[in-house]
């Protein structure tokens, strides 16, 4: 029994425990077992529910999706006529528009994450070095929009950019334009604008964390040695905040590349992203095997990205 206990042995447990504390069921089983059972059964109680939950509702669904992507026939009920085959991947490989959309989505995500990082860097810089005592208050000001419902913020942009929306009607009311600008909504620019808006506060957080960790003495030393503020920034601040910048980039890029809700609301058919074709194949078009194969490609792309990200950033750097 004691050998099994090894699985549940933690560094916090001392081997000495008075016999009186043994659970009564253990006493009935016999003395001299060292009281390890309660720790082992505690281990199982803690271990099994999360494992079963994540296995059943996270791991198995993704494995099932992988299996579905290798299903040769497209129609028919779920488990009938199950023939293995690479048809779905062959279809995708032969369809240039899927690859183009994946490329365009990556490009959109790249533009959005770079813009969000560049726009939020000065925000974090201000909070870290120039906001003084009010930094906490200013940070809350920045975060309130982020805590506001994501769907609502996207909808707000729909209302702003629409043909009879805020911007058009304001421009017409003030006489700047005669007819509403159609080009504001339902295209890729609308998606990019909306998502940059959504991510700015989020991107500011890891950059702020990195800036706050920079030692003040470094600036003093640099100033003593005659470095001008611009040089201090280029030689100290920027390099030392780079882990935060990279973290912000990936924290925006990874969810954005899989985005389908914002294109649905403000992008229209011209602003579709890769996630939208997956959604289409699981709803309107009802071609689940092809949708599964497209999802697997998306998942693989994301995992490769995360792998690259973990090579570039040490996770410990991000945890304060």
């Amino acid at each position: 029994m004691d050998k099994d206990v090894g699985r549940g042995k933690g560094r916090s447990v001392t081997p000495t425990r008075p016999a009186v504390t043994l659970p009564h069921f253990l006493k009935k089983m016999g003395e001299g077992r060292g009281g390890g059972l309660d720790r082992r059964s505690t281990f199982l109680i803690l271990y099994l529910p999360p494992l079963i939950w994540l296995g059943l509702f996270f791991l198995i669904p993704i494995l099932l999706m992988a299996a579905f992507s290798f299903r040769a026939d497209t129609y028919g009920s779920l488990f009938e006529n199950w023939n293995l085959g690479l048809n779905q991947y062959a279809t995708i490989a032969a369809t240039g528009s899927y690859w183009r959309l994946l490329g365009v989505s990556s490009l959109i995500a790249l533009v959005i994450s770079i813009s969000a990082v560049v726009l939020s860097y000065p925000l974090s810089y201000f909070l870290a070095f120039h906001a003084g005592k009010r930094a906490g208050l200013y940070l809350v000001l920045l975060l309130v929009p982020f805590w506001t419902s994501y769907l609502l913020r996207v909808m707000a942009w729909k209302i702003m950019l629409g043909t009879d929306g805020v911007i058009n009607s304001l421009l017409m009311y003030t006489g700047v334009i005669k007819a509403p600008l159609e080009a504001l909504l339902y295209n890729r620019s609308a998606v990019i604008l909306t998502l940059i808006y959504v991510w700015i506060p989020f991107a500011a957080l890891p950059i702020l964390a990195a800036l706050q960790r920079i030692e003040w003495t470094l600036f003093e030393a640099a100033a003593d040695l005659g470095a001008r503020p611009f040089h201090q920034f280029m030689r100290i601040t920027l390099p030392l905040s780079l882990p935060g910048v990279l973290a912000a980039f990936f924290m925006v890029f990874i969810p954005t590349i899989g985005e389908y809700v914002t294109p649905l609301l403000v992008g229209g058919s011209r602003g579709f992203m890769y996630g939208n074709i997956i959604q289409d194949f699981f709803t309107k078009a009802a071609n689940w095997p092809l949708g599964s194969a497209l999802s697997m490609i998306m998942l693989a792309a994301t995992l490769i990205l995360v792998f690259i990200a973990t090579r570039l950033i040490k996770l410990e750097d991000l945890l304060q």
């Binding site: 699985r7 916090s12 425990r17 504390t21 309660d38 720790r39 281990f43 803690l46 271990y47 529910p49 999360p50 939950w53 994540l54 296995g55 509702f57 996270f58 791991l59 669904p61 993704i62 999706m65 779920l78 000065p122 925000l123 810089y125 201000f126 120039h130 906001a131 003084g132 200013y138 309130v144 929009p145 805590w147 506001t148 419902s149 994501y150 769907l151 913020r153 909808m155 707000a156 942009w157 729909k158 209302i159 009879d164 929306g165 805020v166 009607s169 700015i200 506060p201 100033a223 990874i254 969810p255 899989g258 389908y260 809700v261 609301l265 996630g275 709803t283 599964s292 998306m298 994301t302």
Partner: protein, 260 residues
């Protein structure tokens, strides 16, 4: 750098971005008290009618109630699982530890559209009808990384020798967890629960695939976008819910900060 006063352009930039961030939110609020069903200038007049009509709109209220049910259930489950995994993470050594932690953290990086369709497949294969339960299950999976991080960082923050002391004094391990560990991590548990609640309450990308005939509020809001005359009522409720969510977030933050 010794001069800590904000250079004028930098603070100007900061507050311009802040204004830009609040603009759509202000527009939403104005929309909810606007007499017209489209939000065009010039505004015709202001009214609180939409807020009154809201309380007669059964379907809207039902959708909000559905969201409350899903968020309560999934945040409870995600917090419970988060407590379990974080105790395993910080206090136990076992072979499959990396596997379990990886599984628990991975939902953070899997795109929601992928997880949504994968769960849709699972429930179809199992012949489980889509309902609030299926949405809640999905939300539990995506909220778990957050609850895990919040609770684990609290567990890392106090000395495990307190537990050793309890056990030296005769407490068995379950009692030590219940009487010593849980009270110590209580602020983190409350904060984790509130975070999971707000994550679920707002979630749309997964719920759209899994809600079936019982829409949560975001799903219902989305389905009503086509009907311009109902939009102001929806926005009015959304504004109320936004205030509710913000209140929860502030409470969660207070709890999180109190512990440090």
């Amino acid at each position: 750098m010794s001069n800590r006063r904000a250079p004028f352009p930098l603070s100007l930039y900061y507050f311009s971005i802040i204004a830009f961030l609040y603009l759509p939110i202000v527009v939403l609020f104005l929309f909810s008290i606007n007499t017209n069903t489209t939000f065009s200038f010039p505004l015709k007049g202001l009214t609180f009618d939409w807020y009154q009509k809201l309380f007669q709109a059964d379907a809207v209220l039902r959708a909000a109630r559905n969201s409350l049910i899903v968020a309560s259930g999934s945040s409870f489950a995600a917090t419970l699982l988060g407590i379990m995994v974080s105790i395993l993470m910080m206090r136990y050594q076992f072979r499959s530890k990396t596997l379990l932690l990886g599984l628990a953290a991975l939902p953070l990086i899997v795109p929601y559209v992928v997880l949504g369709v994968a769960l849709l497949l699972l429930f179809s294969v199992l012949h489980v009808d889509r309902s609030l339960l299926t949405v809640g299950i999905a939300h539990t999976v995506v909220a778990l990384p957050y609850t895990l991080l919040i609770i684990a960082s609290r567990l890392a923050g106090f000395d495990a020798s307190i537990e050793e002391a309890a056990m030296d004094l005769g407490a068995d391990y379950p009692t030590t967890l219940r009487r010593v560990v849980l009270p110590l991590i209580l602020p983190a548990i409350v904060s984790a629960w509130l975070t999971a609640f707000t994550v679920s309450f707002d979630e749309f990308a997964l719920a759209l695939f899994l809600a079936g005939t019982q829409p949560t509020f975001p799903v219902y809001l989305f389905s009503q976008l086509r009907f311009a005359n109902r939009l102001p009522i929806m926005i009015a409720l959304a504004v109320l819910l936004m205030i509710g969510t913000l209140t929860l977030v502030f409470i969660a933050e207070r709890f999180r900060r109190r512990e440090t």
